[in-house]
Every structure is written in C-alpha cells, then in structure tokens.
C-alpha cells in the first residue's frame, strides 16, 4: 500500500524530480567552485601544487591575503596605484556611472510617460528601435569621438558617455510612471508648484524603490566591469581591472595565482554585501514584457 503511494507520488512528480536533480547538480557545482576558490586563498603554496582538490588537507595561511593588500597594483605612467586607490577608483567609477545612467533613464522615462508631446513618442520609438536593432563594432568610432572631444581618460568623459536614456530600465521606469496618476501633479500645479518641483518633490519620490533597485544593479555592473576602465579610463584603474592586470600584465607585483584568486574574492566582497543587504530589492519585480513597437 505504502509502495503504491510512493510509486504514485513519483509518477505525479517525475517532471519536478528530473528538473530538481539537474538543478541541484548545478547548484552543487556553483557552491563547490566558490567554496574551493575561498580555500585556495587560505591554503599554502605546497597544497596548491600537490593536492589542490583536497580542501580538508593542509593548514590555513593568510599570506596570500597579505600579498593582495601589499602587492596588488596597477602601474600608470610609471606610478603604482595600490588596492586602496583601486577600491576608491571603483567606488567613484561605479557610483558615478550608476547614478548618471539611472537618473538619465528615469527622468527621460518620466518626461516621455507624462508629457504627451510628439517628441515623447519619438523618444519611445527610438528606445525600442535601439533595443531591437543591434549596432556592431562601434567601439573604435566611440574611442575616436571621445579622444577628439577631450573626454578620453577622464571621469567627466565617462559620466557623459553613460548619461544615455537607451536600455531596458527606461522601459521599466516608463511603465511605472505611466501607471501613476497625474492628479498629484495637477494639485501641485494648482498650488503654484513648478514642473521641476513636481518632478523632484512628487513624482520621483514615488519611484524611489525602483530607482534604488536599478541604481544598485547598475552599481554592481559597473563595479564588476573591468573592460570599461581599461578602455576609457586607463589612468583610473579599478579593483576589477587590477585583478585582470595582475594576471596578464604584471611581471612583478601579484604574480602568485593564489594571491590573484584572493584579489578576486576581495573584489567580490562589496557586491556580495550589497546583494545580501538589498536582496529583495535586487531580485524584486523588475519585469520585462515583450518588445512592442
């Protein structure tokens, strides 16, 4: 009787069992990789040479972490920038780019959603077209334009480059602003408020939760980005670029592979902390429907 019940349960849930097995196998591989990476950073060099898969063998050592703090560096015009400067550059780069990018998309979406001018329709169409039609290989031209405008290798230049309203988050903000009643604004206009005040004091605060979620997602993307600083800001290396540099460019400095992995873990810590603090917001309902247009 019990056997029959078990068989029936298995038959009713075979789909989930198969998917669950694959999913748990994937989860195990991801967890194992991350745990193994951590142990690599706290094991001695002899362990890494002899038995790098046996995480329970060997003593622990903090020497690789000491290496990261003292030796991780990027040489810019002959001068070395160490971990504290790299982290500061990361905060300025990621924070600034995330802020201008999020703000630009949010404000553009607000104007497009709430001001029924012909230009708003044009902007919306342009965003959809830019999402659908890919442009390949514009990077050389972009570098050339940046250099010719004197915006290459400076923070103002990169902030201006990221100040565009194209992208998925425009549509996210647009959908939210479209759903907000305009009656709040009308009451404020009657009371003598300017359009700027209505935007900044009434409408933008209504989307602050989504704004924060998008800002955090953008911050994480820019924090993790090493190719952007490498290409556009060679004088302002970030922590992520420092990791890449240590592996591929440095003949001195951080040459030990375990120390390089420790630098990876160090660069990951801030985003993991952000993720744990704001998990619900980051994984909240940023939905993307179909591309209509």
């Amino acid at each position: 009787m019990k056997g029959t019940k078990v068989l029936k349960w298995l038959k009713d849930n075979v789909f989930y069992i198969v998917v669950g097995v694959i999913l748990f196998a994937y989860a195990f591989s991801m967890i194992y990789a991350l745990v193994w990476a951590f142990f690599v950073t706290v094991k001695p060099s002899s362990w890494f040479i002899d038995t790098p898969m046996d995480i329970f063998k060997g003593e622990m050592t903090m020497s690789h972490w000491v290496d990261v703090l003292s030796k991780l560096r990027v040489k810019v015009d002959g001068q070395s920038q160490y971990i504290e400067q790299l982290l500061l550059n990361s905060i300025v780069y990621a924070g600034g780019c995330a802020l201008v990018s999020t703000l630009c998309q949010c404000i553009a979406a607000y104007l497009t959603a709430k001001y029924d001018f012909q230009f708003s329709k044009i902007v919306y169409t342009v965003v959809i077209i830019a999402m659908i039609i890919p442009i390949v290989g514009a990077l050389p031209s972009e570098m050339q334009v940046l250099r010719s405008m004197g915006l290459y290798d400076n923070l103002l230049g990169i902030y201006i480059l990221k100040m565009n309203f194209l992208g998925m988050y425009f549509l996210v903000f647009y959908a939210i602003f479209k759903s907000l009643p305009w009656s709040y604004a009308e009451s404020a206009f009657i009371d003598g408020a300017s359009h700027f005040k209505v935007m900044t004091r009434i409408m933008l605060p209504l989307v602050q939760t989504t704004f924060l979620a998008v800002f955090l997602l953008n911050f994480i993307i820019f924090w993790n980005d090493y190719q952007g600083p490498m290409l556009y800001l060679p004088s302002f290396p970030t922590a992520s670029y420092g990791i890449f540099y240590a592996k591929f460019n440095s003949t001195d400095g951080l040459t030990n592979e375990q120390s390089q992995l420790a630098s990876c873990v160090l660069a990951a810590v801030p985003v993991i902390i952000l993720f744990l603090l704001f998990q619900k917001r980051l994984m909240g309902n940023l939905t993307v429907g179909g591309i209509k247009g």
Binding site: F15, Y16, V19, G20, I22, L23, Y26, M30, A33, L34, W36, D50, P52, M53, I107, A108, L111, F117, F119, V126, I132, I133, P134, I135, V136, G137, A138, P140, E142, M143, V145, M149, I160, M163, N164, F196, N224, D225, Y226, Q227, M230, L231, S240, I243, F248, E257, Q260, V265, A267, A268, V271, I272, F275, M283, N285, L286, T287, V288, G289, G290
Partner: protein, 300 residues
C-alpha cells in the same frame, strides 16, 4: 476668465520650457554618442591609418576586402562566425531551455526554491573576471591534479569548454525574469488544468510557456544580436592570446581595439567588420522577431 486662460497658457509654455531644458542634455548626448558615433563609424570604414604620418587617409573599400578575405579564406573571421553561431545555438537550446525549466521549478515553489533562486542569481552579481578566474584555476589546476586534461588550454577542448562555461554562468537574470513573468500566469488556469488531469509537464508546455512567450521572445531576439557581440569570456581567460580557432565575432572586434598591440591602425578594419555584421544582424534580428510573433504560441 482671461486670467485663467492666461494662467493655463503660461503653465503650458513653462511645461514646454521645462520639458525642453530637461531633455536637452540627454538628447545632445544621444546625438553625439549614438548618431554621431555610428555615422563616424561608417566614415572610418573607408579610411586607413598611416602610422608614420599619424593620420587617416581614404582607403575606398580596402577594409571590406580584407574582411571578406578573412571570411572566405578560413582564417580568423571564418572561425569567429562558426564559433559565434555554435555559442548562440548552445545558449539558446541548452541555456534557455534549462532557464525555463529552473524558473518553473522555482515558480511552483518546490523544495529549496528560495535558496536556489538566490544561488542562480549569484553569477550575475559576481564579476565576470572573478567567475572566469575561479573556473580557470579549477579547470587548469584543480582538475588537472586529479588526472583530467587541461580543457581550457588544449585546442580540441578549448571552445567546447568555453561553451560550457558560458552556459554555466549565463542563467542568472533570465531565471529571475522568467519566474517573474510566470508569476503573472493565472493560478486558476493552472488549477483548472490540474482538475482536468493535465500533468505538470503538460501545464508547463501548454499553459505557462504560451503565457510568458513575450518575455521569451525578448530574450531570443536579443540573443540573436548577441551572436555578433558575445566575447564568450575569451578576453577574461586569454586577454589577446586566445587561439584563432576559438575566436568569436565579439572577441575579434574587441581585441582589435583593446589588445596591447592594437592601435589606431586597427580601428578602420574593426569598424568595417562591425558594419558588415550590423548589416547581417539588424535584418536577422527583425526576421527572428517577426517569425516568433507570427508562429510562436499565443495565450489563446
């Protein structure tokens, strides 16, 4: 009355002024860095850079000739096109399929779905360079120590290993968005299907997938564009030193600008390559979107 009309007119003109001033900077930025950059990119394709004089000169269609030569001679670009298509096929057939199945598992709140949802998102949170280095050391040092070959550095296994890596780290945000879209599916519809004796698999195929097809379309359409831009993490693993047999289009174009031996002389060739692939990517993306909308399942 006149005062009210005057106030309304004044309000409207102030609205126009506010709208124009606020939009001015983003529009100027768009004109320079989207329209201007793409226009300049077209001009660049007809130039060549003289490294001695340090200036560009007119080169007619020479860059296009080099691109088509590379495509037809079985050289860099030929490998790049083949590998890019293989990568896209793997990401679509394996990656999208698994992402949908995992999303359904999480949506139906099966065991550990909350924890798994967080874990699947983790590779998106961590830097691509971090994930690449972990994978590189695990495969190159860890697995080789227990008798496995160095999959990343052997020619026959390098690109299949890269495909595996890209699928392995690529779930993240798509699972989040698919399960979010599934949350909009009517539970009454699923309950009715259950009452009618439909299995979970049938409900997934016949009810859930058609309901979230607009979201799937979005990913499939942007995935087509990814054929031409996806570097497959080659620069993370090898910088400019990847084997030619493992090139993708995205990596080929990127390392023309970013490699330490790149320079202004490579810009026109990269721009020409980009233009050629844009002329393929744009209609292909529109065609895929059209076909998916015409022949894809509908909620009805």
């Amino acid at each position: 009355m006149t005062q009210t009309k005057h106030n309304k007119k004044s309000m409207k003109s102030r609205g126009v002024a506010f709208y124009s001033l606020t939009f001015a900077l983003p529009v100027i930025q768009f004109c320079i860095f989207y329209i201007g950059v793409n226009f300049n990119s077209i001009l660049l394709t007809f130039k060549e850079y003289d490294t001695v004089k340090g200036e560009y000169s007119f080169a007619a269609f020479e860059n296009f000739s080099k691109i088509f030569d590379s495509l037809s001679s079985g050289n860099e670009l030929a490998y790049a096109v083949k590998n890019s298509l293989l990568l896209w096929a793997s990401n679509t057939l394996i990656g999208v399929t698994l992402a949908l199945l995992f999303s359904y598992y999480i949506y139906r709140k099966k065991p550990c779905s909350g924890f798994l949802r967080v874990l699947l998102f983790l590779p998106q949170i961590l830097s691509s360079i971090v994930m690449s280095f972990i994978f590189m050391f695990l495969v190159g040092r860890g697995l080789t120590s227990i008798g496995f070959p160095d999959y990343l550095n052997e020619l026959e296994t390098q690109f299949p290993t890269l495909i595996f890596y890209n699928v392995w780290v690529g779930f993240g945000s798509s699972v989040l968005l698919y399960s979010g879209a599934m949350g909009q599916v009517s539970t009454e519809m699923l309950e009715a299907a259950e009452v009618d004796g439909a299995s979970d698999f049938v409900a997934f195929i016949r009810l859930v997938l058609p309901s979230i097809f607009p979201t799937i379309t979005t990913f499939l359409v942007t995935g087509v564009a990814g054929i031409f831009t996806n570097q497959a993490a080659l620069f993370n693993f090898f910088a400019q030193g990847a084997k030619i047999e493992s090139y993708t289009i995205g990596y080929y174009l990127f390392q023309k600008v970013a490699a330490t031996n790149a320079g202004f002389s490579q810009y026109p060739l990269a721009a020409a390559g980009g233009l050629v692939f844009t002329f393929v990517a744009a209609p292909l993306t529109l065609l895929v979107r059209y076909l998916l909308e015409k022949f894809g399942p509908s909620e009805d």
